[in-house]
C-alpha cells in the first residue's frame, strides 16, 4: 500500500480543507463569547445615554471596566494556545479607549449621535477586516452592524442611543449566539 504523488497531494488537500473548517468553527465558538459580552456592555452604555443621561459617563466607565475584566477572564479560561494574559486583554481595551478619546478630541465638537455612531462603525470595519482572514460570519456581522448604525444615524433623529443599545448591543449578542452555533 503505497501512494502516488498525486494521491498524496489529494490527501494533503483534504487535510487542509478539513482543518480549515474545523479551525474556523472553533474560532467562531470562541469569539462568540466576546461578542456577547461586548454586546451587553454596549447595551448598558447606550441605554444609559438615553435613559440616564446625567449618569452616562460613569455608567460607560463601569461598563467598559466590566467588559475589560470580562474579556480578560474569558481569554484566560480559553483553551491552551489561545490564552492571552489578563494584561493583553486590558491593554487592548485601553488602547481602543484611548484611540477613541483622542479621535473625539481631534474632531471636537462632535454630537452625541456622532459619538454613538463612531465606535460601532469602527468595530464594524474591524470585524469585516478580521473576517477576510477568519471567516464570512465576521464579515456578515460587520456589514450588518455598519448598515444598522448608518441607517439609524441618518433616519432616526431622536433616541438614537436607545436605538444603538438595541441594534448595536442586541446585534452583537445575536451575532455571538450565531457564531457559537457554528
Amino acid at each position: 500500500m503505497s501512494l502516488t504523488p498525486n494521491e498524496a497531494a489529494d490527501a494533503l488537500r483534504d487535510i487542509e480543507s478539513a482543518g480549515r473548517r474545523s479551525g474556523q468553527a472553533f474560532g467562531y465558538r470562541y469569539s462568540g463569547r466576546h461578542f456577547m459580552l461586548w454586546g451587553a456592555v454596549w447595551m448598558v452604555g447606550y441605554a444609559g445615554n438615553d435613559l440616564l443621561p446625567r449618569l452616562a459617563g460613569p455608567l460607560w466607565l463601569a461598563a467598559l471596566v466590566a467588559g475589560a475584566v470580562g474579556s480578560a477572564l474569558l481569554s484566560r479560561s480559553g483553551p491552551k494556545g489561545t490564552r492571552k494574559s489578563a494584561w493583553q486583554s486590558v491593554g487592548l481595551v485601553a488602547i481602543i479607549a484611548l484611540f477613541i478619546t483622542a479621535t473625539y478630541a481631534v474632531m471636537w465638537p462632535v454630537s452625541t449621535a456622532q459619538q454613538a455612531a463612531f465606535v460601532p462603525l469602527l468595530a464594524a470595519a474591524a470585524y469585516s477586516a478580521v473576517g477576510l482572514w477568519t471567516g464570512a460570519r465576521w464579515i456578515v456581522a460587520g456589514v450588518a452592524l455598519a448598515v444598522l448604525t448608518l441607517g439609524g444615524f441618518f433616519l432616526i433623529h431622536s433616541h438614537y442611543s436607545l436605538y444603538m443599545a438595541a441594534v448595536g448591543g442586541g446585534g452583537l449578542i445575536l451575532a455571538g449566539l450565531w457564531m457559537r452555533s457554528a
Partner: protein, 99 residues
C-alpha cells in the same frame, strides 16, 4: 521515511476526522454533529470510524448532556496527534521525492 502509511489514518473519512481534530488546540473537543458535517459521513459511518480511532488510542470520546440534549464530543490524544504528524510527513515525503 516509512514505506507504508499508518493504516488507521489512511482512510478518507478517518483522515478528515483526524485533520479536523488536529486543527484544534491541544485537548479541545469537537462535537459529533460538527465532525459529521466536516467529514461528510453518515452518523453510523462516522461512529464506526471514531470507534476505530478510539481503539487505536488516537482519539477519546466523551458523552454527556448539554441541558437535556445528549452530546458526544471527540478529541485527539497525544498519541493521535503524533501519529497524524507522522502521516502528514509521510505524504510530504512522497511529494518531495517526486520534485
Amino acid at each position: 521515511m516509512t514505506d507504508q502509511p499508518d493504516a488507521i489514518i489512511h482512510q478518507p473519512i478517518r483522515l478528515k476526522i483526524m485533520a479536523a481534530l488536529k486543527a484544534l488546540p491541544d485537548g479541545e473537543q469537537l462535537e459529533f454533529v460538527k465532525l459529521k458535517d466536516i467529514a461528510g459521513a453518515t452518523e453510523g459511518n462516522l461512529g464506526a470510524h471514531i470507534t476505530t480511532l478510539e481503539s487505536a488510542r488516537y482519539a477519546t470520546v466523551q458523552k454527556d448532556f448539554a441541558g437535556k440534549r445528549p452530546r458526544t464530543r471527540v478529541a485527539l490524544t497525544r498519541e493521535g496527534r503524533r501519529a497524524f504528524e507522522d502521516y502528514v510527513a509521510y505524504l510530504r515525503d512522497i511529494i518531495d521525492a517526486k520534485a
